[in-house]
């Protein structure tokens, strides 16, 4: 493949107090990839994501972003991130949705572009009516959309989402995933979505990254579903559960 990977992970290991959370994982993510990052509880999914984003330090191996070593990478606005709902957001802070969304925009952008970008992303996500509301007063689903707007406002080439559907009802979840699919198809945004529900994400993702501390599978979702080896590893029932929604 001639294209340059957006993310290149090489022999990555992460440990906490001698406990290995991620062990010797390597993979590459390219533009237009929609990757479902799945695995059982405690498999290291969130740790892997946080290490790519620079929130955790690798014990071994390397992380490269847009062709640059992570330590030298500066264009963080080209990466969008939607953390889990139960994150470090300060709910005491009286910020409007507009203010929350704008905080992802680098200082180098002029005021007019900032205003227009915020307006555009709120409009795209159908939450323009919430722009002057305080973030702390929103419902779970509205907060999720506001945080997605925060992740998308700079039109990132790469988007990481950590269990994004946890706070959504089934209908809102379908709408949310359809929106991600649209971003992936129409704008070529590469998406990495952490989920414990690999079956559901199979309806949208074209690649699967399955880990259980170490790498179990990385490649085309379709290939995973046809793989006899994977069928044997997971057993026919679990393999079917993961694959039944993939088209």
């Amino acid at each position: 493949m001639n294209k340059k990977p957006l993310v290149a992970i090489s022999h990555l290991s992460v440990s906490y107090h001698d406990q290995q959370a991620v062990s010797d994982i390597s993979f590459e993510i390219y533009a237009s990839d929609f990757v479902g990052l799945a695995g059982p509880n405690g498999a290291g999914k969130t740790t892997l994501l946080r290490t790519i984003l620079g929130l955790e330090k690798p014990t071994h191996g390397s992380v490269s972003l847009f062709g640059k070593d992570q330590k030298e990478f500066r264009a963080w606005h080209t990466i969008g991130y939607l953390p889990q709902q139960k994150t470090s957001v300060n709910h005491l802070l009286p910020a409007t949705v507009e203010e929350v969304v704008a905080l992802s925009i680098p200082d180098s952008w002029d005021r007019r572009t900032v205003r227009e970008s915020v307006r555009a992303v709120l409009n795209e996500l159908g939450i323009t009516h919430l722009s002057h509301k305080l973030f702390s007063t929103l419902s779970g689903g509205q907060k999720q959309r506001a945080l997605l707007a925060r992740a998308l406002v700079t039109k990132p080439a790469l988007l990481f989402l950590d269990e994004p559907s946890a706070a959504l009802d089934p209908q809102a979840r379908d709408t949310f995933f359809a929106l991600l699919k649209k971003l992936n198809k129409e704008q070529g945004t590469a998406i990495v979505l952490v989920t414990h529900d690999a079956g559901y994400v199979g309806a949208y993702a074209n690649k699967l990254l399955y880990i259980d501390t170490h790498l179990i599978y990385f490649g085309d979702f379709a290939h995973f579903c046809q793989s006899e080896q994977m069928n044997k590893y997971f057993g026919p029932h679990d393999h079917h559960i993961i694959c039944h929604q993939h088209t």
């Binding site: 620079g54 009286p94 409007t96 203010e99 704008a102 905080l103």
Partner: protein, 268 residues
């Protein structure tokens, strides 16, 4: 004596001027401290500053020369204990502030003749500030406002969601260090004006008052400075009219403003 006659005195002009500058600083920094659950930092640093001032008086050095670096050092030690030694922030503040005040008390007990000076730092007196002290506080206010305007997004992002701010490439530990250093400087320079016992309330109350209004972050920041200014000027005037201790009167006017806003918001 009426307020018009009092306004003709230079010491009153200096008191109002320094009061305005202290309010700009306290209204601005206070909001970040309250929202970052660092309200007690002001109290802890006031104790550090008190200990440092006592040390300065004990060894016969101009107190600011020693209190500024030691208060900054105390602030950074609190951050270090919190981040590196895994001590909870409130416990870290408690350890450093208790050690400082204990050292201050011992030094005061071993000294002869500077207890009156120590009292002036404990309770402060805005009416005795000199013009050079006004200038120093004005420069500090200018510095704090410049830092907040220039790094507004960085400060806002770190206060709203520190972890997410790190994914934007923001060095949040540097932001925290800058914030506590600004607070330490403010405490060290303003302790004589407001007093070690009262300065933290001047930092906290305007922010808490502004937060009751439920406005956007930018507006809350502006309201916080406005409430600090109103309470400071009102407090100085009331103290002049009623001949009550200025620092304590300023604090009580701050509390009264908070009470008034809480009542209005409840009625609405």
């Amino acid at each position: 004596m009426d307020i018009i006659s009092l306004l003709q005195y230079d010491f009153v002009h200096r008191a109002f001027l320094v009061g305005v500058f202290v309010s700009i600083i306290s209204g601005t920094l206070g909001l970040f401290l309250v929202l970052r659950k660092m309200s007690l930092l002001g109290d802890g640093l006031a104790h550090v500053s008190f200990g440092a001032v006592t040390l300065g008086l004990f060894v016969g050095i101009y107190p600011y020369t020693i209190s500024i670096p030691l208060t900054i050092l105390g602030a950074l030690l609190m951050v270090y204990l919190n981040h590196k030694a895994r001590v909870y922030a409130d416990a870290a503040i408690g350890v450093v502030s208790a050690a400082s005040i204990a050292a201050g008390v011992i030094l005061a007990s071993k000294s002869k003749g500077f207890n009156t000076d120590v009292m002036s730092y404990l309770f402060g007196n805005i009416l005795t500030v000199r013009i050079d002290e006004v200038i120093v506080v004005a420069v500090l206010a200018l510095g704090v406002v410049t830092v907040v305007i220039h790094y507004y997004r960085v400060l806002f992002a770190t206060t709203f969601d520190e972890e997410y701010a790190r994914t934007l490439g923001i060095h949040t530990q540097v932001v925290n260090a800058v914030l506590v250093t600004c607070t330490a400087l403010t405490i060290a320079l303003c302790i004589k004006v407001i007093g070690a016992f009262l300065i933290s309330s001047v930092l906290i109350i305007p922010a808490v008052t502004a937060l009751q209004l439920g406005a956007s972050f930018k507006r809350t920041l502006i309201y916080s400075v406005c409430f600090a200014l109103i309470s400071m000027i009102g407090g100085i005037m009331l103290s002049l009219l009623t001949n009550t201790p200025t620092g304590a009167t300023i604090v009580l006017v701050h509390v009264a403003t908070l009470g008034a806003v809480l009542t209005v918001m409840r009625v609405r």
